[in-house]
């Protein structure tokens, strides 16, 4: 029992916290893939840009909360400009081109950040400290906030896609963009706004996680692989699957690290994915016929 309270429970919570943030990242990736057919290699860099934009805003305003609003907006704007300027011509081409274009964008963003802020590790302080007793242990308040905020966001996104007209339009565009165009919807604007939204979401995840992790130019590269795994595990194009898979990976990573050293954890995560793909090639909730 002591082991459960002192070791297992906090680690499980860590896993949920990380899983929720990973879900935000993977959700953007999966929507963009479903809508634009582009596997966005620059998604990790948008996540990283969120943290750095946060550092900039905190520098001016000394407020984490101001950053939480401004940073995603700024990165969303970057996303919109990027989509219009570079991704638009890619939609009619083979997926290869989108993959490679976003790989180039990732290089530019990463190196650009290194030039502006340097390559050092940085920290963002949590906006509040302290801890709360929960389930017989004390847990840092900021992590609880992170879990609540990410979960609320995931719920909000789900409501957006199921209950609002704008969300339904985006889903319709995933199904059949041409038909939607015929119905008089400006599909190009839907694409741009969706990409901007996905970028803002990634930025938000980056800033929310920054007080827990450290901020450095390579941070996106390390996250994006996990996000890819989440997207594949969940079933490509399935938003619910991405969220479930994000929690599975978050918790698995967290629990494994109790018993293994970090590199074994990484290999175990890859191993899970490979096994799932062999047993269930479409991932948890992948639809039949999509991409197979």
């Amino acid at each position: 029992m002591d082991y459960v309270v002192a070791v297992l429970a906090p680690q499980l919570l860590h896993g949920l916290v990380f899983g929720a943030a990973l879900g935000l990242l993977a959700l953007g990736l999966t929507v963009i893939f479903g809508l634009l057919g582009v596997m966005n290699f620059a998604h990790g860099e948008l996540y990283m840009l969120g943290a750095y934009a946060g550092i900039a805003v905190i520098g001016w305003t000394h407020s984490f909360w101001a950053a939480l609003v401004a940073a995603p907006l700024a990165v969303g704007l970057i996303g919109a400009v990027t989509e219009v300027a570079t991704l638009r011509p890619m939609y009619r081409r083979e997926p290869l081109y989108g993959l490679i274009l976003t790989f180039g964008l990732a290089l530019v963003f990463r190196e650009g950040v290194r030039q502006i802020w340097g390559g050092d590790m940085r920290r963002i302080l949590p906006p509040f400290t302290g801890s709360t007793p929960i389930l017989g242990m004390t847990y840092p308040d900021y992590r609880l906030f992170l879990l609540a905020a990410s979960s609320a966001l995931l719920l909000a996104i789900w409501l957006f896609f199921t209950r609002t007209r704008a969300g339904i339009v985006v889903r319709a565009a995933v199904q059949d963009a041409e038909m939607l165009d015929g119905l008089g919807v400006d599909v190009r604007r839907v694409f741009t706004l969706t990409f901007a939204g996905s970028a803002a979401l990634a930025a938000l995840a980056g800033l929310l996680l920054a007080p827990v992790f450290t901020v450095y130019p390579q941070m996106g590269v390390e996250m994006i692989l996990l996000a890819f795994i989440v997207v594949i595990l969940g079933g490509m194009g399935s938003m619910g699957g991405s969220v479930v898979a994000a929690f599975v990976i978050g918790v698995a990573q967290s629990l494994f690290s109790l018993w293994m050293n970090p590199q074994r954890v990484a290999i175990a995560i890859f191993g899970i994915m490979i096994v799932v793909l062999i047993v269930r090639p479409r991932g948890f909730f992948g639809r039949e016929g999509v991409l197979e």
Binding site: P95, L101, F103, L107, N261, Q263, F270, I274
Partner: protein
């Protein structure tokens, strides 16, 4: 095309004789040609078969480690190094290609990427193989006892010979019936299957050829620089191979060689002036994808040259 290739190789062979060529330039040429050979091998998959491998760095790195481990044990034969690379890379590629070719489209790219990341993580954290430092300070390999590959000139000719042989193999592949089936798979996989071809077996075969050629290039790399590090296997390295293919032009053999050489020299030159060369590389890549989707070689068509893509 063959006479033109022969001409290119003749020019390359004469390169060290050009007055004013420094030892440094020869080593840069080594890198350029090695990168070109890898890009050419990768294009068998991307350009000819329509499979985007994001894990070629693992084949490259495994080849390099095979050489490093053999040389470290005091076995200095070039042939032992190459043999070890074929065994190691072949075994790994068999597993990866089996699972990766069972999926289409983006799955192939992601599976090759994730398998490569497993290999990278393994070498990065295994102290037996030097961890993040890799294996350093290797002795020179020998062609036969007494014939050490120890000067930049000899190293250059080693790579040039390899490139010529690899080109011959690739050309044999793409001009054969087998190569035509690959192009058919690229164009319409279902139709190829309905025609009775077991598509996955063809895909696996070309994956193995491409992986082994890349692994052999990897086996040659430590003979220039005397080390193998896990960074050779990082997925950004795979990205650079793809960039080289794109720069040169998909679906040709000579294009990626030019692309690989162009990329290597661009990186060397830009990085000696500014430390933000990745921005330059990234922008070059974006511009090429946007405005020259067929690469430098395909771009010629706009200038009035022949058809860009091998229809073989």
């Amino acid at each position: 095309m063959t006479w033109r290739a022969a001409l290119v190789f003749a020019v390359l062979a004469a390169l060290p004789g050009v007055p004013g060529i420094s030892q440094y330039s020869l080593l840069l040429a080594f890198d350029a040609l090695l990168f070109g050979a890898i890009a050419m091998s990768l294009d068998l998959l991307i350009g000819y078969t329509g499979l985007v491998s994001f894990g070629h760095a693992a084949f490259y790195g495994l080849g390099a480690y095979a050489t490093a481990i053999v040389l470290e044990r005091g076995v200095l034969s070039l042939w032992a190094c190459l043999g070890a690379a074929v065994l190691v890379v072949g075994a790994y590629a068999l597993v990866v290609s089996y699972f990766a070719t069972a999926r289409r489209g983006i799955y192939f790219a992601l599976l090759t990427l994730i398998f490569a990341e497993v290999v990278y993580t393994f070498f990065r954290y295994t102290q037996t193989f030097g961890g993040s430092d890799g294996i350093q300070g290797l002795p020179d390999a020998r062609l036969w006892p007494g014939a050490a590959i120890d000067t930049p000139l000899r190293k250059y000719y080693l790579v040039l010979t390899y490139l010529a042989l690899a080109y011959a193999v690739c050309r044999l592949v793409v001009t054969s019936h087998f190569g035509r089936v690959l192009v058919a798979i690229r164009e319409n996989e279902d139709r190829a299957r309905f025609l009775g071809y077991s598509v996955q077996r063809y895909k696996m075969a070309i994956c193995m050829i491409s992986a082994l050629l890349t692994g052999l290039a990897g086996a040659i790399y430590p003979m220039r620089s005397a080390f193998a590090t896990p960074d050779l296997m990082l997925w950004t390295e795979s990205g650079e191979f793809i960039i080289s293919v794109m720069i040169g032009g998909l679906g040709t053999l000579v294009g990626p060689v030019i692309g690989g050489a162009f990329f290597t020299i661009l990186r060397d030159k830009v990085s000696s002036y500014v430390d933000w060369y990745f921005i330059v590389i990234g922008v070059v890549l974006i511009v090429i994808v946007l405005f020259m989707p067929r690469g430098l070689l395909g771009f010629r068509r706009l200038l009035g040259f022949k058809q860009w893509r091998a229809t073989a």
